[in-house]
């Protein structure tokens, strides 16, 4: 089913040399444009020119990505390339929920916390006892009507921990804070309305005492935004919309976008037909990053609505955009719209990985955004300047980006119009990658990207806005992209903007998140349900285990109270593409499930729904 391509073999860096170089840089602040404390986070064996922006997990896993910078890197190395073949399941817990198990567990205070898809249970497991038994289960009882408003399965992408609280969002738009010890609810705050087609699927990020969370519903005419809540009591601190006037978008005197295309007053209104911005989508349902030195959060916004672009002439700001904001006031610092006037459903809610490393020979504060639209985008995260945009999968909606203007060079024949099919547009609406997060290893300097290769035919249809129903307006048929593969785990050399190795999947996309570890391992899962450990340098699959269902979750690693390293992953197929495995979707309608059926037909024979938590360890 899989085929391995190794295009290069990286040399293994001598750890001692790396540490020495790191020390030299720490002691030579003059070499850095960055504040001196930025070199404070070091991990064993890291490349000398690479500096982590925030502390990486030290055996716990308290944030969705493990750290604030979204590296999904753990320095733990007890499990490594020499012994990973002995990895074996030590706990399997089936939760009985036959829907997509996206996201990842948390581990803190000798407890593992699992958030399930709707009905969004929070289950705590005691890691101090043999077999890791359940400690308690918190049931938030979300409104079942939210099930039918969720565009892409009733998923949940996890929780954040701080100050004794597990904080997560329920499908019916409530953010809950649960006592991490007792499993009792501390506060609950509604941040959206199911009747307006709004749902919650993302994992909030906690920065200082601020809980930051978006809203889902780009296919239901929602008004995309981010809401910030006080961690102590759940009270709303600020709310920043993604469309509308500057005051609603929290655009003020601090806002300094790098490019002229993103400069001007009230662009969130003037780049839309009258009032269309009020139902123009631009949701936030992916991942949020935070840079403690710059004190800025970063996140991307989703697609504009409806999908038919003829109904919304203009650039449709601030959809498909990356924001940089102050976490305490919400005030925008910069913005970069990646896809103006989107005609393909290229939500740009992908992870933004923050890392300080050499760029063209000089240390630079980078933001890495492997874009749904197919380009590996590298930004200067202080200014929002685009430094590079290279395709990592087959792309033809644009030939590239003009680094001087920040504008994509769009192929107009790939733009859908009312009653007109745009044929063979690549990537498809599901992107060259989905929300599934990449991992970055400071040891290898490689970004490990879970990617897709699908294309589509797309016709614009007149969409009617009826509150609480889909506002789509497109007929979409997706199918596998060129070159005979559909999924790919890519090891990407950031500095040289090229693939180093990749593992291809012939028939299914890669729809799981990735974890990189100090043991020179990369963990990820396949839609068939194989959970894999791969050599981070060469891409060689060293170990795999067939779980009960397709994997759409994100691996984590932690240390138990017994001081042993463990790796955890959810199994349980679902999500937008994975939902084709469900019996409720018929294969003879290529437009079913918003057009993904044509690309996903084999999945019904390769896996079936059923959610479970798997924890692996060495014997």
């Amino acid at each position: 089913m899989t085929r391995q391509t190794r295009t290069a073999r990286r040399a293994v860096f001598v750890p001692a040399l790396g540490i020495l170089c790191g020390l030299v840089l720490v002691l030579s602040p003059g070499l850095h444009a960055a504040p001196p404390e930025s070199a404070g986070v070091t991990v064993p064996g890291q490349r000398s020119d690479i500096h982590l922006v925030s502390p990486v997990p030290d055996g716990t896993w308290t944030l969705p990505a493990g750290d604030m910078a979204n590296t999904r890197y753990s320095p733990l190395d007890d499990i490594n390339t020499t012994n990973v073949t002995k990895l074996t399941p030590v706990k399997i817990f089936a939760d009985g929920i036959p829907h997509g198990h996206e996201g990842q567990p948390l581990v803190v205070n000798n407890t593992l916390y699992m958030v399930t898809p709707f009905p969004n249970y929070l289950i705590a497991f005691d890691l101090t006892k043999p077999g890791f038994p359940m400690k308690w289960k918190y049931e938030p009882h979300p409104d079942p009507r939210s099930v039918g408003k969720a565009c892409c399965d009733t998923v949940n992408r996890g929780a954040s921990y701080a100050d004794g609280k597990i904080v997560y969002a329920t499908l019916d738009d409530n953010v809950v804070a649960v006592d991490a010890d007792k499993g009792t609810e501390i506060w609950r705050t509604p941040v959206g309305e199911v009747s307006k087609g709004e749902t919650e699927t993302m994992a909030p990020l906690i920065v200082k005492h601020v809980v930051i969370v978006g809203i889902s519903g780009g296919e239901l005419g929602t008004h995309g935004r981010v809401t910030a809540l006080n961690l102590d009591n759940g009270q709303v601190m600020w709310r920043a919309y993604n469309t509308g006037p500057d005051k609603d978008c929290l655009i003020g005197p601090d806002f300094h976008p790098y490019y002229a295309k993103d400069q001007g007053r009230d662009l969130g209104v003037s780049t839309w037909p009258p009032d269309a911005w009020k139902i123009g989508g631009g949701p936030v349902w992916g991942w949020i990053s935070y840079d403690p030195q710059l004190n800025l959060i970063y996140y991307g916004t989703g697609n504009p609505g409806p999908w038919n672009p003829d109904q919304r002439p203009g650039a449709n700001k601030w959809t498909c955009t990356i924001w940089a904001r102050d976490p305490e006031t919400g005030q925008a610092k910069w913005a970069f719209q990646i896809v103006p006037h989107d005609a393909w459903d290229y939500d740009e809610i992908m992870e933004n990985i923050l890392v300080d490393m050499n760029w063209e020979g000089k240390p630079r504060k980078l933001l890495l955004h492997p874009a749904r639209s197919g380009f590996m985008m590298v930004f200067d995260r202080q200014t929002g300047q685009l430094l590079s945009a290279k395709a990592f999968e087959p792309v033809n909606w644009a030939s590239g980006f003009d680094l001087k203007t920040g504008e994509p060079d769009v192929d107009s024949s790939k733009v859908t119009h009312t009653g007109v099919f745009a044929r063979d547009a690549c990537p498809s609406s599901t992107g060259a990658k989905e929300f599934v997060p990449s991992a970055f290893s400071p040891k290898t300097g490689l970004l490990y990207i879970p990617a897709h290769n699908t294309c589509m035919d797309r016709e614009g249809l007149k969409a009617n806005y009826i509150q609480g129903t889909p506002y789509v307006g497109a007929d979409v048929n997706m199918y596998p992209g060129p070159d005979g593969y559909q999924g790919e785990l890519i090891a990407w050399d950031v500095e040289h903007a090229k693939k180093v190795w990749s593992i291809k999947d012939a028939v299914l996309p890669v729809y799981s998140g990735v974890l990189a570890t100090g043991g020179d391992l990369v963990f990820y899962g396949t839609l068939e349900g194989e959970f894999r450990a791969v050599d981070a340098h060469t891409g060689k699959v060293l170990w795999q285990f067939k779980t009960g269902s397709g994997i759409v979750g994100d691996p984590i690693t932690f240390k138990g109270p017994d001081a042993k390293q463990y790796v955890a992953i959810y199994s349980g197929v679902g999500g937008w593409m994975g939902a084709v495995a469900f019996p409720s979707i018929s294969l003879d309608d290529p437009t079913a499930a918003l057009g993904v059926v044509g690309a996903m037909k084999p999945i019904k024979q390769l896996t079936a729904p059923g959610g479970a938590l798997y924890i692996f360890g060495l014997p």
Partner: protein
């Protein structure tokens, strides 16, 4: 023709409702304990408890009417049914309507009720917005799926022949 159908519809629906509310009062069984809520069930989805047969369900005045089926297809797109149930009702946010499985009953009257009253997991109560006449046309379209009468049936996209693809760098 349409006026005639509407007249038939106007007669049939109340008749159907009357038929449904009829009880088997002449049973020789001992009297059942009093139950609250009896007499309110219009179109039962569940089995009928105790003795007695379910009354005949109202039929669709537009059944097998090709014009109404075509209208139903148009309404299926117009009211955003396609957004949840798929462009040709193959499913998505809501379940497939092309398959043989019906959560709330597959009889035309059951489908009519599901549209009219909505269902617990997100199906809107369309009776608040869509005239009953149009709901019956939607039912006629839904019942035509996977039959020779299905208008605008799904077609698999043609095999792509040529593509301009910018290769990723190696």
């Amino acid at each position: 023709m349409r006026r005639l159908l509407l007249t038939i519809f106007a007669v049939l629906v109340p008749l159907g409702l009357l038929a449904c509310s009829g009880r088997s009062a002449n049973s020789a069984d001992p009297p059942a304990p009093p139950m609250s809520g009896t007499g309110n069930v219009g179109i039962p989805v569940g089995p009928i408890p105790g003795p007695g047969q379910p009354a005949a369900l109202p039929s669709n005045p537009y059944a097998d009417n090709p014009v109404a089926i075509q209208d139903g297809r148009r309404l299926f797109l117009w009211y955003n049914c396609a957004g949840c149930h798929g462009g040709h009702a193959g499913g998505g946010m809501g379940p497939s309507l092309r398959d043989k499985d019906w959560i709330y009953g597959g009889d035309p009257a059951h489908i009519f009720d599901s549209i009219l009253e909505g269902r617990a997991h997100g199906m809107p109560a369309w009776g608040t917005k869509i005239p009953e006449d149009q709901i019956w046309k939607l039912v006629a379209y839904i019942k035509s799926l996977r039959t020779p009468q299905e208008p605008d049936p799904p077609v698999a996209p043609p095999e792509p022949k040529t593509r301009t693809v910018h290769e990723p760098p190696q």
